[in-house]
Amino acid sequence: MYVIETRKLTKRFDKLTAVDSLNLKINDGEIFGLLGPNGAGKTTTLSMLSTLLKPSSGTALVNRHDIVSEPSDVRKSIGFVFQDPSSDDTLTGRENLYLHALMYGVKGSEINPKIDEVLKLVDLQDRQREFVKNYSGGMRRRLELARGLLHEPKVLFLDEPTLGLDPQTREYLWAYIKKLSREKDVTIIITTHYMEEAERLCDRVAIIDLGKIVVLGTPDALKKKVGGDIITLKIASPNLQAVRRLGCVRKAMVKGDMLQLTLDNASAHLQAILKVVGKVESVELRSPTLNDVFLHYTGKEIREDSAEGGWAERSMHYGNR
């Protein structure tokens, strides 16, 4: 039984096809990642799954409810942490949670215990009575994580949960997300364009580009598909023929003055390669990452620095009502 099953889910905006006949099956209880560059269709997919956007064609089942014909039941089954902050900063953290509980019809007698429980989960008990405008970006994200869980959804969507946060805060958030997944009976769907985030958090990852799934699997399985290790050389004029003649290199790619080689057991062959390749300025040897997987399947890189206006940055702009 799948918690989410999309059937040829498609969204077109004028000429652009943002999501292109997506077929996806997500298991109960897993952390599933949608990884791709900006504009790949990740957020559009989540918007359709959460009934904020109507698909152009195709449909999906969320917790066995159809997103087109039963939007209200779908909304009761899901929690959503948006890419941009969406709490009211003139209210306190607790008040925001109280509002959320009311809007989702949490029973009166359960509201306060539930709020206490989720506040504890994200360690915000001490700051719950402060106005959200005095929260840091990380605290606000944690509050919104807690809010997304308050009504005990079957599925929790996290849209770029750590966009614009500093590395330390990001580590904390990852820990919280892992904890939620362990302690709560909830399936978590994350969109991200951070490779590391997908590798660290997700049980399975779908790499998407131009609205289509490029490849899907566990992070380890995906990396194995690329195969072997990667040697990156900084070199002006590599002797590619000589390298190929060694017979150990599976794939060689030249990009500007960088040469990237894919091969098994790289450390054993490194000396031989360096002997024949020419005058090398620097060498790097590493295991493949999801970025290499993406590069392998699409021929381009996911650029982490091209993020649209960071989350924290925007929260400052719209800080006041």
Partner: protein, 255 residues
Amino acid sequence: MKSMSELSGLYAIWYRELKVFIRERSRIVSSIVSPLMWLVVFGSGLGSTITSVSGVGYQTFIYPGIIVMSLLFSSIFYGVYVVWDRKIDFLKEVLVAPLSRTTIFFGKAIGGTTDALIESLILIAMAPLFGVQFTLVTFLLSLLIIFVLTMGIVSIGLIIGSLLSSPEGFGLISSFVTFPIFFLSGALFPITSALPQWLADVVKFNPVFYGVDLLRGVTLGIPTSVSPALDFAIIVAFAAVLIALGTLAFKKMKL
């Protein structure tokens, strides 16, 4: 079961509007200061050149009109908070909740009406300063009139807010709507005697005119332009139509 959660959702949206309103003291202060300026400066200044209108002093005459003016301006302006909610993305949080758009609209409309009622109560408390005495009956009738009229006016603001995404655009369009309604409402002068015929005809299509007419009749005990029953029927119809249009606008509203 379903209607229960809609009801608690309605309460949630109303609760938020009230909290925010009470916290933003500047909003209450500014909504009281401007009618007081009209009453004190305009009322006594212009009033000194006018002996009486419809048998009462000028300042007393405009008092009910200024109450309506203050709720007109603040209730239409209230729609800008829909635009802000869109900007701060709180609207997403509301729209993804399992609530019908009708519930969301009513929560907002009742929230805005509550704000206007609080402002009106402050002005009513100052009535003796402007030569107006309330009895329990006229007080309750006034609140009823203010409530009905405000539900209609708040809906105008919410409709404009649901269509726009920039606060600046909202300011521009809302003042286009607000000022004609205000000047042609009879709040500052008796329409029938003061305006040329063609303008007096236009006034007949201004629902707020009937609200001012009725509130003036109730608070000052002077004869109304049309029968009080007709006045009331018109503002009820006005509110009903605008609420229906507002619900529709919220159903069509996109993020």
